[in-house]
């Protein structure tokens, strides 16, 4: 073996070692107090996230909340005005994107049109000077892993949207990235393909143990794929928690309303920590956040499953709709005062609630979220 070949082989084994299919340690990622302005707009306002090795964190939020800016700062395509990005404890803020070892899948189709699927996947390895044989073998393995081995010779224009994103995923994974960055990779795909690819990404990510930051505005995607979901609003992280915790115990009114379905019921604050709604007084959750609402009209936020619904002759509402969802049925109710809400009932009990039935809606004595009243337009 010549020195050159030996060198090539050693580089190849570094770049390809153990993949695909092996467990790896993963990398820790810390976003520390990131701030970024675009003109007068504050895109990020002191964002801090701590990602454990091998974890998949989804950043969820409405358009313009700063989630993509955060991802692009981690990737090295944007620079933060202040704050640091630490990879395994080392600040990489000044490392150019090309040297960060991060695989990225973009929202728009990003395959190189002049290269076949195989050459696209092998591109990162080529840039790492991996020998032709090794990189083609590795690229073929990765294409096989995403189920596209038969399409390896096809060019991007010959592939469907879902196939292109799978090639892009294989391409990002081929370099064995320290961190995988996913920028809404499923948003351009139709529902069925989106679901399949969602499961495929999660399976591969867990199998390879690659620390992954995933940006999306689709809460179903975030909740179903991520170990933890960070909800962002106006450049700030409202809450980061496991999906079930985020749903069951939202830290702020914004999170409560953004994640899942939420009813708004007019209420009045009693002191700083209690609120009267539907004729009963219940404690306020996160009371410190509602101090500023004192004396103002407020709404209570309650999930459909958090309401009690009983048939009552002179109740406070009328059933308007009934939607069968499997084990539960979602019942639409119009309350006195023209307030519409949705309440869930076990499907076995919902038969007694036909549209037009008079019902009584009450609230269990558990803490509720309170937000400033939304003025309907």
């Amino acid at each position: 073996m010549t020195a050159n070949t030996a060198n090539e082989a050693s580089t190849a084994s570094t770049a390809t070692g153990g993949l695909p299919g092996s467990e790896r340690g993963g990398t820790s990622v810390v976003l520390q107090d990131l701030t970024r302005h675009f003109g007068a707009t504050r895109a990020l306002d002191g964002l801090s996230i701590d990602m454990a090795p091998g974890e998949l964190v989804a950043l969820l939020g409405p358009s313009g909340c700063g989630k993509t800016t955060a991802l692009r700062i981690v990737a090295g395509f944007e620079t933060a005005d202040a704050g640091e990005v630490l990879i395994d404890g080392k600040d990489i803020s000044h490392v150019p994107a090309a040297r960060r070892d991060m695989g990225m899948v973009f929202q728009s189709y990003s395959l190189f049109p002049n290269m076949s699927a195989l050459d696209n996947v092998a591109f990162g390895l080529r840039m790492r000077k991996v020998g032709t044989g090794s990189r083609r073998k590795k690229a073929a393995e990765l294409l096989d892993m995403v189920g596209l081995a038969p399409q390896s010779g096809q060019f991007p224009h010959q592939l469907s949207g879902g196939q292109q994103q799978r090639v892009a995923l294989a391409r990002a994974l081929a370099i064995e990235p320290r961190v995988l960055l996913l920028d809404e990779p499923l948003s351009a795909l139709d529902a069925k393909v989106r679901l399949q690819l969602r499961e495929q990404i999660r399976t591969l990510q867990q199998r390879l143990g690659t620390t992954t930051l995933f940006v999306t505005h689709d809460q179903e995607e975030a909740l179903s794929m991520a170990d933890r979901v960070g909800v962002m609003s106006n450049g700030r992280l409202e809450q980061i928690a496991a999906p079930d915790e985020l749903y069951a115990d939202p830290a702020t009114a914004f999170v409560a309303e953004f994640v899942g379905i939420m009813n708004r019921l007019p209420a009045s604050l009693e002191g700083g920590d209690r609120v009267t709604v539907l004729g009963s007084t219940v404690p306020v959750r996160a009371a410190s956040q509602v101090a500023e609402l004192s004396g103002k009209p407020v709404d209570v936020l309650v999930r459909p499953e958090g309401l009690r619904l009983e048939v009552a002759e002179n109740g406070n509402g009328i059933v308007t709709t009934r939607t069968f969802l499997g084990s539960v049925t979602r019942v639409g109710v119009l309350l006195d005062g023209d307030v519409a809400l949705q309440a869930d009932k076990p499907s076995s009990e919902a038969a007694s609630l036909p549209p037009g039935a008079s019902v009584s809606v009450t609230l269990p004595p558990e803490p509720v979220h309170v937000a400033a009243r939304k003025v309907s337009e």
Binding site: A75, A97, A98, D101, F112, M127, F155, A172
Partner: protein
């Protein structure tokens, strides 16, 4: 059915129209060529090559075409890429600036440049090439600009960088191959412009091929017409070669057929 009997179906009428347009256009273009061929006679074609100045003027024109194309692409490509990636707001301004050479008459340019050019440049045909770079700018920039608009330049550049490619590698391996059609269009337009330019060359006292044809027409009309026709045939052969080569690669990657008019197609696809 009987009522419709006398009316030709729509498809037949449209096919007939196509033939009429093709024949009229063909006559419009081919009649002067046929007349020129009749005027020059076959013998003139044989004597053109041995005429004084034919080889040297053609060589000068071809050399100028190569130098101009290389400098133009070397200047315009990075500029167009940089404007698209980093200064997208200046795209309209750049379009305005690059169109200026069309607005300013060549005679104004050459007179102004000859007045201020350093003497070492005045004595070199490189000055003419540099002037041609300015003249080629509108065509080359617009062709490249259209090609870049048809690409999602920002995404593929970032994808390339995230995979570890340097700026040079990104330009060479990702951007350039995807601009093949645009580069071919820019090259063809630049070469065609240089091979046909007369005003600047004659004022700068260089006997390029068009100048030689003009000078020769004073003494031998038949030979100069034969030379013009030869130039036309050579140009068409070059264009045909570029079209075939460009289309072969372009079809493979889904880009379609490459022609001089690809520029227009790219512009509509880009936005």
């Amino acid at each position: 059915m009987a009522a419709l009997g006398g009316i030709a179906p729509r498809g037949v009428r449209s096919t007939a129209w196509r033939w009429i347009v093709l024949i009229v256009t063909g006559v419009y273009f081919l009649l002067p060529l046929w007349a020129a061929l009749r005027f020059a006679g076959i013998k003139a074609f044989g004597s053109v090559v041995s005429e004084d100045g034919f080889t040297s003027s053609l060589a000068l024109s071809l050399r100028l075409a190569v130098i101009t194309t290389v400098i133009t692409i070397a200047l315009m490509l990075p500029t167009a890429v940089y404007v698209h990636l980093r200064l997208p707001r200046l795209r309209r301004l750049m379009e305005g600036i690059t169109i200026l050479p069309i607005v300013i008459p060549p005679v104004v340019l050459i007179v102004g440049v000859l007045a201020i050019a350093p003497s070492f440049l005045k004595s070199s045909s490189l000055l003419l090439a540099l002037l041609y770079v300015v003249l080629a700018m509108p065509f080359a920039y617009r062709a490249l600009d259209a090609g870049l608009r048809a690409l999602d330049l920002k995404t593929i550049t970032e994808a390339s960088q995230s995979l570890g490619a340097s700026w040079g590698s990104t330009l060479w391996r990702v951007i350039l191959p995807n601009l093949r059609t645009a580069l071919l269009s820019a090259t063809v337009l630049t070469v065609a412009m240089v091979l046909g330019e007369f005003t600047m060359a004659s004022l700068d006292l260089y006997q390029t091929f068009p100048v030689w044809i003009y000078v020769n027409s004073q003494t031998s009309g038949q030979v100069s017409v034969a030379a013009s026709m030869l130039a036309l045939i050579v140009t068409w052969l070059v264009l045909l070669a570029i079209t075939v080569l460009g289309t072969r690669q372009s079809r493979k990657t889904g880009g379609g057929t490459v022609t001089l008019f690809t520029v227009a197609r790219q512009e509509t696809r880009g936005d």
